[in-house]
Protein backbone atom coordinates (compact mmCIF):
# COMPACT_ATOMS: atom_id res chain seq x y z
CA UNK A 1 0.00 0.00 0.00
CA UNK A 2 1.21 3.51 -0.78
CA UNK A 3 -0.77 6.00 1.30
CA UNK A 4 1.52 8.76 0.00
CA UNK A 5 0.01 8.33 -3.49
CA UNK A 6 -3.61 8.60 -2.40
CA UNK A 7 -3.71 12.28 -3.31
CA UNK A 8 -3.47 11.15 -6.96
CA UNK A 9 -7.04 9.96 -6.91
CA UNK A 10 -8.38 13.40 -6.04
CA UNK A 11 -6.10 15.21 -8.49
CA UNK A 12 -8.28 16.51 -11.37
CA UNK A 13 -5.69 15.90 -14.10
CA UNK A 14 -5.13 12.29 -12.99
CA UNK A 15 -8.87 11.77 -12.75
CA UNK A 16 -9.16 13.22 -16.26
CA UNK A 17 -6.58 10.68 -17.40
CA UNK A 18 -8.65 7.85 -15.93
CA UNK A 19 -11.77 9.36 -17.47
CA UNK A 20 -10.04 9.28 -20.87
CA UNK A 21 -9.34 5.59 -20.39
CA UNK A 22 -12.92 5.04 -19.32
CA UNK A 23 -14.22 6.78 -22.44
CA UNK A 24 -11.91 4.68 -24.57
CA UNK A 25 -13.24 1.51 -22.91
CA UNK A 26 -16.79 2.56 -23.73
CA UNK A 27 -15.78 3.42 -27.30
CA UNK A 28 -14.11 0.03 -27.83
CA UNK A 29 -17.14 -1.76 -26.39
CA UNK A 30 -19.57 0.11 -28.63
CA UNK A 31 -17.41 -0.40 -31.73
CA UNK A 32 -17.10 -4.10 -30.89
CA UNK A 33 -20.80 -4.62 -30.27
CA UNK A 34 -21.78 -2.74 -33.45
CA UNK A 35 -19.36 -4.75 -35.61
CA UNK A 36 -20.27 -8.03 -34.00
CA UNK A 37 -24.00 -7.40 -34.25
CA UNK A 38 -23.71 -7.04 -38.02
CA UNK A 39 -21.53 -10.13 -38.37
CA UNK A 40 -23.54 -12.09 -35.81
CA UNK A 41 -26.79 -11.36 -37.64
CA UNK A 42 -25.30 -12.70 -40.87
CA UNK A 43 -24.00 -15.81 -39.10
CA UNK A 44 -27.34 -16.42 -37.36
CA UNK A 45 -29.27 -16.11 -40.62
CA UNK A 46 -26.77 -18.42 -42.33
CA UNK A 47 -27.17 -20.93 -39.54
CA UNK A 48 -30.95 -20.84 -39.97
CA UNK A 49 -30.67 -21.22 -43.75
CA UNK A 50 -32.50 -24.08 -45.42
CA UNK A 51 -29.52 -25.01 -47.59
CA UNK A 52 -27.04 -27.22 -45.82
CA UNK A 53 -24.15 -25.70 -47.84
CA UNK A 54 -24.79 -22.45 -46.02
CA UNK A 55 -25.92 -23.88 -42.70
CA UNK A 56 -23.04 -26.25 -41.99
CA UNK A 57 -20.14 -23.83 -42.57
CA UNK A 58 -21.89 -21.18 -40.49
CA UNK A 59 -22.49 -23.65 -37.65
CA UNK A 60 -18.86 -24.74 -37.83
CA UNK A 61 -17.59 -21.15 -37.71
CA UNK A 62 -19.80 -20.25 -34.76
CA UNK A 63 -18.89 -23.33 -32.75
CA UNK A 64 -15.16 -23.04 -33.43
CA UNK A 65 -14.88 -19.33 -32.69
CA UNK A 66 -16.94 -19.72 -29.51
CA UNK A 67 -14.62 -22.47 -28.32
CA UNK A 68 -11.49 -20.29 -28.65
CA UNK A 69 -10.27 -18.03 -25.85
CA UNK A 70 -11.11 -14.43 -26.68
CA UNK A 71 -7.62 -13.36 -25.62
CA UNK A 72 -6.09 -15.63 -28.28
CA UNK A 73 -8.12 -13.86 -30.96
CA UNK A 74 -7.24 -10.43 -29.59
CA UNK A 75 -3.53 -11.25 -29.44
CA UNK A 76 -3.55 -12.75 -32.90
CA UNK A 77 -5.40 -9.97 -34.68
CA UNK A 78 -3.84 -7.23 -32.58
CA UNK A 79 -0.28 -8.27 -33.24
CA UNK A 80 -0.57 -9.98 -36.60
CA UNK A 81 -3.40 -7.91 -38.08
CA UNK A 82 -1.13 -5.90 -40.38
CA UNK A 83 0.66 -8.91 -41.83
CA UNK A 84 -2.69 -10.61 -42.43
CA UNK A 85 -3.89 -7.71 -44.58
CA UNK A 86 -0.65 -7.22 -46.53
CA UNK A 87 -1.24 -9.84 -49.25
CA UNK A 88 -4.58 -8.20 -50.11
CA UNK A 89 -4.04 -4.52 -49.42
CA UNK A 90 -0.43 -4.03 -50.47
CA UNK A 91 2.84 -4.06 -48.49
CA UNK A 92 2.22 -0.66 -46.89
CA UNK A 93 -0.91 -1.80 -45.12
CA UNK A 94 -0.70 -1.26 -41.39
CA UNK A 95 -3.47 -2.17 -39.01
CA UNK A 96 -3.38 -0.19 -35.76
CA UNK A 97 -3.37 -2.31 -32.59
CA UNK A 98 -6.63 -0.65 -31.66
CA UNK A 99 -8.54 -1.99 -34.65
CA UNK A 100 -6.77 -5.33 -34.48
CA UNK A 101 -7.94 -5.74 -30.91
CA UNK A 102 -11.45 -4.57 -31.76
CA UNK A 103 -11.61 -7.07 -34.63
CA UNK A 104 -10.45 -9.94 -32.41
CA UNK A 105 -12.98 -9.01 -29.75
CA UNK A 106 -15.82 -8.57 -32.25
CA UNK A 107 -15.06 -11.83 -33.99
CA UNK A 108 -15.57 -13.72 -30.74
CA UNK A 109 -18.59 -11.66 -29.72
CA UNK A 110 -20.23 -12.10 -33.12
CA UNK A 111 -20.23 -15.88 -32.59
CA UNK A 112 -21.91 -15.38 -29.22
CA UNK A 113 -24.40 -12.84 -30.56
CA UNK A 114 -25.19 -15.20 -33.45
CA UNK A 115 -26.30 -17.76 -30.88
CA UNK A 116 -28.39 -15.18 -29.02
CA UNK A 117 -30.02 -13.99 -32.26
CA UNK A 118 -30.72 -17.54 -33.38
CA UNK A 119 -32.25 -18.40 -30.01
CA UNK A 120 -34.43 -15.27 -30.29
CA UNK A 121 -35.70 -16.17 -33.77
CA UNK A 122 -36.23 -19.85 -32.94
CA UNK A 123 -38.21 -19.00 -29.81
CA UNK A 124 -40.94 -17.29 -31.85
CA UNK A 125 -44.01 -19.44 -32.55
CA UNK A 126 -44.07 -21.12 -35.97
CA UNK A 127 -47.44 -19.52 -36.63
CA UNK A 128 -45.70 -16.17 -37.13
CA UNK A 129 -43.76 -17.48 -40.12
CA UNK A 130 -46.76 -19.34 -41.50
CA UNK A 131 -49.07 -16.35 -41.18
CA UNK A 132 -46.55 -14.06 -42.84
CA UNK A 133 -46.03 -16.48 -45.71
CA UNK A 134 -49.79 -16.92 -46.11
CA UNK A 135 -50.19 -13.15 -46.32
CA UNK A 136 -47.76 -13.13 -49.24
CA UNK A 137 -44.50 -12.02 -47.61
CA UNK A 138 -41.40 -13.53 -49.22
CA UNK A 139 -38.75 -15.26 -47.08
CA UNK A 140 -36.72 -12.05 -46.78
CA UNK A 141 -39.74 -9.93 -45.98
CA UNK A 142 -40.87 -12.43 -43.35
CA UNK A 143 -37.51 -12.27 -41.65
CA UNK A 144 -37.08 -8.50 -41.90
CA UNK A 145 -40.59 -7.30 -41.16
CA UNK A 146 -42.11 -10.05 -38.99
CA UNK A 147 -39.53 -12.22 -37.23
CA UNK A 148 -36.57 -9.94 -36.54
CA UNK A 149 -38.51 -7.06 -34.95
CA UNK A 150 -40.13 -9.47 -32.51
CA UNK A 151 -36.95 -11.44 -31.87
CA UNK A 152 -34.86 -8.31 -31.27
CA UNK A 153 -37.10 -7.29 -28.41
CA UNK A 154 -36.57 -10.68 -26.75
CA UNK A 155 -32.80 -10.45 -27.23
CA UNK A 156 -32.28 -7.11 -25.51
CA UNK A 157 -31.59 -8.48 -21.97
CA UNK A 158 -29.25 -11.21 -23.22
CA UNK A 159 -27.39 -8.70 -25.37
CA UNK A 160 -27.05 -6.28 -22.50
CA UNK A 161 -25.51 -8.93 -20.30
CA UNK A 162 -23.18 -9.70 -23.19
CA UNK A 163 -22.28 -6.01 -23.24
CA UNK A 164 -21.04 -6.25 -19.65
CA UNK A 165 -18.85 -9.15 -20.74
CA UNK A 166 -17.50 -7.04 -23.61
CA UNK A 167 -16.72 -4.15 -21.26
CA UNK A 168 -14.74 -6.54 -19.06
CA UNK A 169 -13.00 -7.99 -22.12
CA UNK A 170 -11.83 -4.59 -23.33
CA UNK A 171 -9.19 -4.90 -20.61
CA UNK A 172 -7.67 -7.63 -22.81
CA UNK A 173 -7.45 -5.14 -25.66
CA UNK A 174 -5.62 -2.90 -23.18
CA UNK A 175 -3.18 -5.71 -22.49
CA UNK A 176 -1.95 -5.71 -26.12
CA UNK A 177 -1.10 -2.03 -25.82
CA UNK A 178 -4.25 -0.06 -26.57
CA UNK A 179 -5.06 2.81 -24.23
CA UNK A 180 -8.20 2.14 -22.21
CA UNK A 181 -9.31 1.98 -18.57
CA UNK A 182 -7.12 -0.90 -17.43
CA UNK A 183 -4.18 0.50 -19.39
CA UNK A 184 -4.58 3.88 -17.73
CA UNK A 185 -4.21 2.21 -14.32
CA UNK A 186 -1.16 0.38 -15.59
CA UNK A 187 0.42 3.62 -16.78
CA UNK A 188 -0.24 5.20 -13.37
CA UNK A 189 1.11 2.32 -11.31
CA UNK A 190 4.25 1.87 -13.39
CA UNK A 191 5.07 5.49 -12.56
CA UNK A 192 4.01 5.65 -8.92
CA UNK A 193 4.45 1.99 -7.89
CA UNK A 194 0.95 1.81 -6.43
CA UNK A 195 -0.66 -1.18 -8.21
CA UNK A 196 -3.03 -1.91 -5.32
CA UNK A 197 -4.58 1.55 -5.27
CA UNK A 198 -4.63 2.06 -9.05
CA UNK A 199 -6.13 -1.35 -9.83
CA UNK A 200 -8.71 -1.05 -7.04
CA UNK A 201 -9.68 2.37 -8.38
CA UNK A 202 -10.29 1.13 -11.93
CA UNK A 203 -12.01 -2.02 -10.72
CA UNK A 204 -14.55 0.18 -8.94
CA UNK A 205 -15.14 2.02 -12.21
CA UNK A 206 -15.55 -1.29 -14.06
CA UNK A 207 -17.82 -2.49 -11.28
CA UNK A 208 -19.96 0.65 -11.47
CA UNK A 209 -20.76 0.32 -15.15
CA UNK A 210 -21.01 -3.49 -15.33
CA UNK A 211 -23.16 -3.76 -12.21
CA UNK A 212 -25.53 -1.05 -13.41
CA UNK A 213 -25.89 -2.70 -16.82
CA UNK A 214 -26.42 -6.19 -15.40
CA UNK A 215 -29.01 -4.96 -12.91
CA UNK A 216 -30.77 -3.12 -15.72
CA UNK A 217 -30.83 -6.21 -17.92
CA UNK A 218 -32.14 -8.30 -15.02
CA UNK A 219 -34.89 -5.74 -14.45
CA UNK A 220 -35.86 -5.88 -18.13
CA UNK A 221 -35.86 -9.65 -18.10
CA UNK A 222 -37.97 -9.96 -14.97
CA UNK A 223 -41.33 -11.48 -15.74
CA UNK A 224 -40.49 -11.98 -19.40
CA UNK A 225 -40.23 -15.74 -19.73
CA UNK A 226 -39.36 -15.69 -23.43
CA UNK A 227 -36.42 -13.37 -22.84
CA UNK A 228 -35.20 -15.65 -20.04
CA UNK A 229 -35.39 -18.61 -22.41
CA UNK A 230 -33.38 -16.78 -25.05
CA UNK A 231 -30.67 -16.00 -22.51
CA UNK A 232 -30.60 -19.59 -21.25
CA UNK A 233 -30.35 -20.96 -24.80
CA UNK A 234 -27.17 -18.95 -25.27
CA UNK A 235 -26.02 -19.60 -21.70
CA UNK A 236 -22.47 -20.65 -22.55
CA UNK A 237 -21.73 -17.04 -23.28
CA UNK A 238 -22.62 -15.90 -19.80
CA UNK A 239 -19.26 -16.54 -18.17
CA UNK A 240 -16.34 -14.91 -19.87
Amino acid sequence: MRPDTWHLFTNPSVLGFFLGGFGQTIFISIAAIALSFALGLLLALARLSRSRWVRWPATGCIEIVRALPVYLLIVYFGIKGSSLGKPFLGPDFDMPRFWGGVIGLSLYTSAVLAEIIRAGIVSLPRGQTEAARALGFGPIGTMRLILLPQALRLMVPAMMSQLTTIIKDTSLVGQIGVFELYRSARIIYTQYFNPIEALLFVSFLYFGICFTLSQFSRRLELGNQDAQRVRKAALRSEVA
Partner: protein, 224 residues
Amino acid sequence: MPFGIIFEYPDQYLFPGGLWVTIELSVVSLLGSLVLGTVIALFRISPLTPFRVIGVAYVEFFRNTPLLVQLFFLFFGLPLLGIRLSDDAFEFNFRAALLGLTLYHGAYVAEVVRSGLLGVDRGQIEAARSLGLSYAQMLRFVQLPQSFRVVIPPLGNIFTALVKNTSLATTIGVAELLNAGEVVESRTFRAIEAYGAVAVLYLALVLPLAAGVNWLERRLQVVR
Protein backbone atom coordinates in the same frame (compact mmCIF):
# COMPACT_ATOMS: atom_id res chain seq x y z
CA MET B 1 5.87 -29.22 -42.89
CA PRO B 2 4.37 -25.91 -41.80
CA PHE B 3 2.82 -27.18 -38.57
CA GLY B 4 6.01 -28.99 -37.60
CA ILE B 5 6.66 -26.29 -35.01
CA ILE B 6 4.06 -27.93 -32.79
CA PHE B 7 6.63 -30.66 -32.22
CA GLU B 8 9.77 -28.64 -32.81
CA TYR B 9 10.12 -27.76 -29.15
CA PRO B 10 9.08 -31.08 -27.66
CA ASP B 11 7.83 -31.27 -24.07
CA GLN B 12 9.15 -27.80 -23.39
CA TYR B 13 6.63 -25.53 -24.99
CA LEU B 14 3.44 -26.07 -26.92
CA PHE B 15 2.85 -29.76 -26.80
CA PRO B 16 2.53 -31.29 -24.31
CA GLY B 17 4.20 -28.72 -21.99
CA GLY B 18 1.85 -25.75 -22.45
CA LEU B 19 -1.17 -27.97 -22.85
CA TRP B 20 -0.35 -29.71 -19.60
CA VAL B 21 -0.05 -26.44 -17.65
CA THR B 22 -3.40 -25.30 -19.09
CA ILE B 23 -5.05 -28.55 -17.99
CA GLU B 24 -3.45 -28.31 -14.56
CA LEU B 25 -4.62 -24.71 -14.12
CA SER B 26 -8.16 -25.56 -15.27
CA VAL B 27 -8.65 -28.64 -13.13
CA VAL B 28 -7.16 -27.28 -9.92
CA SER B 29 -8.97 -23.95 -10.14
CA LEU B 30 -12.22 -25.75 -11.02
CA LEU B 31 -11.95 -27.78 -7.82
CA GLY B 32 -11.07 -24.67 -5.86
CA SER B 33 -13.95 -22.66 -7.28
CA LEU B 34 -16.41 -25.50 -6.62
CA VAL B 35 -15.52 -25.47 -2.93
CA LEU B 36 -15.40 -21.67 -2.72
CA GLY B 37 -18.60 -21.26 -4.76
CA THR B 38 -20.54 -23.70 -2.58
CA VAL B 39 -19.44 -21.88 0.56
CA ILE B 40 -20.43 -18.50 -0.92
CA ALA B 41 -23.77 -19.95 -2.05
CA LEU B 42 -24.46 -21.16 1.49
CA PHE B 43 -23.59 -17.64 2.68
CA ARG B 44 -26.09 -16.22 0.18
CA ILE B 45 -29.01 -18.37 1.34
CA SER B 46 -28.07 -18.12 5.01
CA PRO B 47 -30.83 -16.95 7.36
CA LEU B 48 -28.34 -14.50 8.90
CA THR B 49 -28.21 -11.10 7.18
CA PRO B 50 -24.45 -10.38 7.60
CA PHE B 51 -23.58 -13.63 5.82
CA ARG B 52 -26.00 -12.81 3.00
CA VAL B 53 -24.47 -9.35 2.60
CA ILE B 54 -20.95 -10.81 2.40
CA GLY B 55 -22.13 -13.37 -0.15
CA VAL B 56 -23.84 -10.78 -2.39
CA ALA B 57 -20.89 -8.39 -2.16
CA TYR B 58 -18.44 -11.12 -3.10
CA VAL B 59 -20.45 -12.39 -6.06
CA GLU B 60 -21.26 -8.99 -7.51
CA PHE B 61 -17.75 -7.60 -7.09
CA PHE B 62 -15.96 -10.55 -8.67
CA ARG B 63 -18.46 -10.97 -11.49
CA ASN B 64 -18.44 -7.33 -12.49
CA THR B 65 -14.72 -6.63 -12.66
CA PRO B 66 -12.40 -7.98 -15.36
CA LEU B 67 -10.46 -11.14 -14.60
CA LEU B 68 -7.35 -9.47 -16.01
CA VAL B 69 -7.51 -6.70 -13.40
CA GLN B 70 -8.00 -9.28 -10.65
CA LEU B 71 -5.01 -11.29 -11.84
CA PHE B 72 -2.76 -8.24 -11.91
CA PHE B 73 -4.05 -7.19 -8.53
CA LEU B 74 -2.98 -10.53 -7.08
CA PHE B 75 0.27 -10.58 -9.05
CA PHE B 76 1.45 -7.18 -7.83
CA GLY B 77 -0.65 -6.83 -4.70
CA LEU B 78 0.04 -10.04 -2.79
CA PRO B 79 3.80 -9.43 -2.38
CA LEU B 80 3.13 -5.80 -1.39
CA LEU B 81 0.64 -6.96 1.20
CA GLY B 82 3.27 -9.33 2.57
CA ILE B 83 1.64 -12.55 1.36
CA ARG B 84 4.24 -14.89 -0.12
CA LEU B 85 2.68 -17.68 -2.13
CA SER B 86 6.08 -19.07 -3.11
CA ASP B 87 9.74 -18.09 -3.15
CA ASP B 88 10.17 -19.35 -6.68
CA ALA B 89 9.12 -16.72 -9.25
CA PHE B 90 7.55 -19.16 -11.73
CA GLU B 91 5.77 -21.04 -8.99
CA PHE B 92 4.49 -17.72 -7.64
CA ASN B 93 3.05 -16.78 -11.06
CA PHE B 94 1.35 -20.14 -11.30
CA ARG B 95 -0.16 -19.93 -7.82
CA ALA B 96 -1.31 -16.35 -8.34
CA ALA B 97 -3.05 -17.39 -11.57
CA LEU B 98 -4.60 -20.35 -9.78
CA LEU B 99 -5.89 -18.12 -7.00
CA GLY B 100 -7.22 -15.50 -9.43
CA LEU B 101 -9.07 -18.03 -11.57
CA THR B 102 -10.51 -19.68 -8.44
CA LEU B 103 -11.76 -16.42 -6.96
CA TYR B 104 -13.31 -15.22 -10.25
CA HIS B 105 -15.06 -18.45 -11.19
CA GLY B 106 -16.05 -19.11 -7.58
CA ALA B 107 -18.45 -16.17 -7.91
CA TYR B 108 -20.10 -17.74 -10.98
CA VAL B 109 -20.25 -21.16 -9.28
CA ALA B 110 -21.88 -19.51 -6.26
CA GLU B 111 -24.68 -18.10 -8.44
CA VAL B 112 -25.33 -21.47 -10.05
CA VAL B 113 -25.26 -23.42 -6.77
CA ARG B 114 -27.49 -20.82 -5.14
CA SER B 115 -30.16 -21.11 -7.82
CA GLY B 116 -29.89 -24.90 -7.51
CA LEU B 117 -30.39 -24.71 -3.75
CA LEU B 118 -33.34 -22.34 -4.10
CA GLY B 119 -34.84 -24.74 -6.65
CA VAL B 120 -35.27 -27.43 -3.99
CA ASP B 121 -38.89 -27.66 -2.92
CA ARG B 122 -39.59 -25.77 0.32
CA GLY B 123 -41.58 -28.73 1.63
CA GLN B 124 -38.42 -30.85 1.60
CA ILE B 125 -36.63 -28.34 3.80
CA GLU B 126 -39.56 -27.95 6.18
CA ALA B 127 -40.03 -31.72 6.40
CA ALA B 128 -36.34 -32.23 7.20
CA ARG B 129 -36.43 -29.54 9.86
CA SER B 130 -39.59 -30.90 11.46
CA LEU B 131 -38.07 -34.39 11.52
CA GLY B 132 -35.46 -32.94 13.85
CA LEU B 133 -32.50 -32.42 11.50
CA SER B 134 -30.36 -29.43 12.37
CA TYR B 135 -29.83 -26.70 9.75
CA ALA B 136 -26.39 -28.14 8.89
CA GLN B 137 -27.74 -31.69 8.65
CA MET B 138 -30.61 -30.49 6.48
CA LEU B 139 -28.12 -28.83 4.09
CA ARG B 140 -25.87 -31.88 4.05
CA PHE B 141 -28.48 -34.58 3.60
CA VAL B 142 -31.45 -32.89 1.93
CA GLN B 143 -30.87 -29.56 0.21
CA LEU B 144 -27.36 -29.98 -1.28
CA PRO B 145 -27.85 -33.52 -2.72
CA GLN B 146 -31.14 -32.56 -4.34
CA SER B 147 -29.65 -29.54 -6.06
CA PHE B 148 -26.82 -31.50 -7.70
CA ARG B 149 -28.74 -32.62 -10.77
CA VAL B 150 -29.90 -29.11 -11.66
CA VAL B 151 -26.47 -27.67 -11.06
CA ILE B 152 -24.32 -30.01 -13.18
CA PRO B 153 -24.98 -28.62 -16.73
CA PRO B 154 -24.40 -24.94 -15.83
CA LEU B 155 -21.27 -25.97 -13.92
CA GLY B 156 -20.09 -27.64 -17.10
CA ASN B 157 -20.58 -24.34 -18.93
CA ILE B 158 -18.51 -22.59 -16.28
CA PHE B 159 -15.80 -25.19 -16.71
CA THR B 160 -15.58 -24.61 -20.48
CA ALA B 161 -15.32 -20.87 -19.83
CA LEU B 162 -12.68 -21.55 -17.20
CA VAL B 163 -10.54 -23.54 -19.63
CA LYS B 164 -10.68 -20.63 -22.08
CA ASN B 165 -9.95 -18.09 -19.37
CA THR B 166 -6.76 -19.85 -18.33
CA SER B 167 -5.28 -18.13 -21.40
CA LEU B 168 -5.17 -14.91 -19.37
CA ALA B 169 -2.56 -16.51 -17.10
CA THR B 170 -0.02 -15.76 -19.83
CA THR B 171 -0.26 -12.07 -18.91
CA ILE B 172 1.29 -12.76 -15.52
CA GLY B 173 3.93 -15.07 -16.93
CA VAL B 174 2.55 -18.56 -16.55
CA ALA B 175 3.92 -20.87 -19.26
CA GLU B 176 0.54 -22.17 -20.38
CA LEU B 177 -0.69 -22.83 -23.92
CA LEU B 178 -1.05 -19.28 -25.21
CA ASN B 179 2.24 -18.28 -23.60
CA ALA B 180 3.93 -21.23 -25.31
CA GLY B 181 2.43 -20.04 -28.60
CA GLU B 182 3.83 -16.56 -28.05
CA VAL B 183 7.29 -18.00 -27.30
CA VAL B 184 7.27 -20.22 -30.39
CA GLU B 185 6.03 -17.32 -32.52
CA SER B 186 8.73 -14.98 -31.31
CA ARG B 187 11.42 -17.57 -32.02
CA THR B 188 10.23 -18.67 -35.45
CA PHE B 189 8.29 -15.61 -36.72
CA ARG B 190 5.65 -18.04 -37.97
CA ALA B 191 2.54 -16.57 -36.41
CA ILE B 192 -0.08 -18.48 -38.37
CA GLU B 193 1.44 -21.83 -37.50
CA ALA B 194 2.19 -21.03 -33.87
CA TYR B 195 -1.19 -19.47 -33.04
CA GLY B 196 -2.93 -21.99 -35.29
CA ALA B 197 -1.41 -24.80 -33.26
CA VAL B 198 -2.49 -23.08 -30.03
CA ALA B 199 -6.01 -22.70 -31.41
CA VAL B 200 -6.16 -26.37 -32.42
CA LEU B 201 -5.02 -27.47 -28.96
CA TYR B 202 -7.62 -25.22 -27.29
CA LEU B 203 -10.31 -26.62 -29.58
CA ALA B 204 -9.18 -30.15 -28.67
CA LEU B 205 -9.83 -29.26 -25.03
CA VAL B 206 -12.97 -27.16 -25.29
CA LEU B 207 -15.02 -28.78 -28.07
CA PRO B 208 -15.29 -32.25 -26.44
CA LEU B 209 -16.04 -30.56 -23.14
CA ALA B 210 -18.81 -28.45 -24.66
CA ALA B 211 -20.24 -31.48 -26.44
CA GLY B 212 -20.16 -33.43 -23.18
CA VAL B 213 -21.99 -30.63 -21.38
CA ASN B 214 -24.66 -30.55 -24.09
CA TRP B 215 -25.10 -34.31 -23.80
CA LEU B 216 -25.35 -34.15 -20.00
CA GLU B 217 -27.84 -31.31 -20.24
CA ARG B 218 -30.16 -33.33 -22.49
CA ARG B 219 -29.75 -36.48 -20.40
CA LEU B 220 -30.45 -34.83 -17.07
CA GLN B 221 -33.42 -32.97 -18.50
CA VAL B 222 -35.16 -36.24 -19.42
CA VAL B 223 -34.71 -37.62 -15.92
CA ARG B 224 -36.19 -34.49 -14.36
